[in-house]
Symmetry: none
Subunit: 401 residues, 2 copies
């Protein structure tokens, strides 16, 4: 499906605002009158729904709970199973570290071990970021894995860093070396195939030298490696859909996904209001605005129904800042559900609305998970949304004679 | 799709009751106020629907009428087209004959022919089962197809038996030898490919010896072979979904499907009430209870609208025996539709309800084919049901980071 849509996509002057309220989908909690969206006072969303086509979407597959990575890939029209991304790559993307197709990316947790080599703290007491930076710099200057490969090491935050091994024909099918418990040494990396065997040899050389260098650190005298992932570059939104895209998102995970799809990244802003202002400020410069609101997911994860309702109400009150720009296509949806009732991501489908001048308005009167059941989009995979958005934007040419 | 769900599935302590009312889907008959389900007084099903998420399912594809075999495979999450099973295999499974991946299974109808070799009775006067057994025993003792292969022959009932040819590299692409009319001899078996050619040679050797042995039988002096099928073993429900499963079903066809998926088989019981009692008695021992009610289909096949309504009402009155166990997930659905109006299976989608504490209840107020149109599950392939059931049971881990 994707390649056909890619082939049909054309450039024009339309503007698309694509608002993702993370984890928006919910459930009725005990003692509440409905889901978070049903309970929220959200007149602007409801009014928009009345003038839109609505529906429900399964992020990955019915019954399957998605991580945020694949859920966002699906929203952007990428097959979330094929495009599934390793943790290491996502971590590297989250700090906007450019990767190549010769790279295996790995998450590092600096940890502390005792004289016998057994782990005493898997996070090295949440190492100060400054110390992390100093350790990385020491490794960068003194470790060499040439000529087989080179490496990049970058601090993320606290005890976390990213390691990239760059070389020819390297595989990423390698186990985590984090034993997930204390009182034992780190695990040895082991390869699942021949190409990964090559990576393991190089990683062991890296670890030997690096461990010597950091042996005297009081905290962070060892490294646990996780999420080994060979990077497979993605086609960009421009390449696929001819969309010049700005990502307005404040959290590393979502900035990382945007970075991998070669979206431009708006600087981190203070809150939802400043995010929406950024759309206005950049409105002339882009075709497609990915606007990410984190609060709905965060409060859902907290299990705080009322706080999630408040986030929805805040977004609703600010919505005219976006709709007032009169985009050709306005989308409101979610990457996945995060019901406060479950305090976690869930597999429940997400509500979606698509507004344009040619969107064939249905009878949905309120924007919520139950009303959207009877929306004109029906229930569909999230991956189908982008072609519908492009169609509404007049950005897909006719197929066939 | 299946392999992703398989990979994500985990074991936990939840209980799932999966009630299949065979042929439940119906149509409005002339002079009736609705479908069988709409006309039936079924307050327990309606109450359950009000607390569930509902929808409609296409067993195979829209417009395609399924046999019971593929329709059940779809319900259990198996691709009904890929998993489609030969008649011979289904007949063998129906008498719980264990098959291997070296087997071609074949249905035998004992028939009678005259001195010229022309068939005079395609069912040998519905041979007494005892005579069938005696004939099979004679064949078993005196026929040999060694060393190329061995065979198993087992009586089913009346004129029906099962033949299994077991050997290396045998194919099952072979025509029925039943000419479907009288006054002509049986057809010769012919192979559609090379591997099946090997089977045909062996079958001819078998038939030559067997026909000599039974030539003097007054009824049942020949054999018609049907439904040649190479057996491809299925992954079990345990292997795929980590579900320890009990099948509570009283008819050979459904016990056969359950047998092929390695479910445990409850002994045949007297009626629906004793089936539901069996669930209660075995409740601690299993994760998943496949409960099969045959009457809805049988009365539909009879074209007896009112009798089908009565079966629905009986099941409804007994339903609290199942819901009273408070399973984590309760499913009510059908394998296919059997409208009394048509006296046959049909392609119409089937209603489904899924009840759990996290099922995102929709607005459906009555459990019937029309109300379910507006259910939150929408319209989906039957094969999607199992992942949704597993999701509701918390038995699928998150996909991706």
């Amino acid at each position: 499906m994707n390649s056909l849509v890619d082939e049909l996509s054309i450039k024009n002057d339309t503007k698309i605002i694509f608002l993702v309220m993370d984890g928006l989908g919910g459930l009725r909690s005990a003692g509440k009158k409905g889901t978070e969206l049903q309970v929220a006072h959200s007149p602007n969303l409801d009014k928009l729904a009345q003038d839109s086509i609505c529906g429900l979407m399964d992020p990955i597959l019915p019954g399957v709970t998605p991580g945020s990575g694949p859920a966002h890939f699906a929203l952007f029209g990428y097959n979330p199973v094929e495009a599934n991304i390793g943790r290491g790559v996502l971590e590297a993307a989250g700090i906007n570290l450019p990767l190549t197709d010769r790279d295996v990316a790995i998450r590092i947790n600096f940890a502390t071990r005792d004289a016998d080599g057994n782990i005493t703290d898997r996070r090295a007491g949440r190492l100060a970021t400054d110390i992390n930076k100093r350790i990385c710099e020491k490794i960068r200057k003194n470790v060499s894995i040439a000529p087989e490969a080179e490496f990049v090491i970058e601090t993320v935050k606290e005890h976390r860093a990213v390691l990239v091994i760059r070389g020819d024909d390297l595989g990423g099918d390698i186990n985590d070396t984090d034993p997930q418990k204390l009182g034992v040494p780190p695990l040895e990396p082991e390869a699942g195939d021949e190409a990964s065997g090559k990576t393991v040899k190089i990683v062991k050389r890296f670890l030997e030298q690096a461990h010597d260098l950091i042996a005297d650190e009081p905290a962070g005298n060892t490294m646990l490696l996780r999420g080994f992932a060979k990077h497979k570059p993605y086609k960009s939104m421009m390449e696929r859909f001819k969309l010049k895209t700005l990502a307005v998102a404040n959290y590393p995970m979502y900035r990382g996904v945007a970075f991998l799809l070669d979206m431009d990244l708006n600087p981190v802003t203070a809150d939802t209001k400043t995010e929406f202002e950024a759309v206005k400020e950049n409105y002339d410069k882009y075709d497609f605005f990915f606007v990410h609101v984190k609060g709905t997911d965060a409060r859902g994860e907290d299990g705080d129904f009322d706080a999630k309702v408040k986030v929805i109400e805040e977004v609703d009150s600010l919505l005219p800042m976006l709709t007032g720009l009169n985009p050709d296509v306005m989308v409101v949806t979610a990457d996945h559900s995060t019901p406060a009732e479950m305090s976690s991501h869930s597999w429940h489908p997400v509500p979606v609305l698509v507004h344009s001048n040619i969107c064939r308005v249905d009878d949905v009167q309120t924007f919520d998970e139950i009303a959207c059941i009877n929306g004109g989009l029906g229930r569909m995979p999230s991956m189908n949304l982008m072609p519908i958005v492009l169609g509404n934007a007049g950005r897909l040419t006719k197929f066939g004679a």
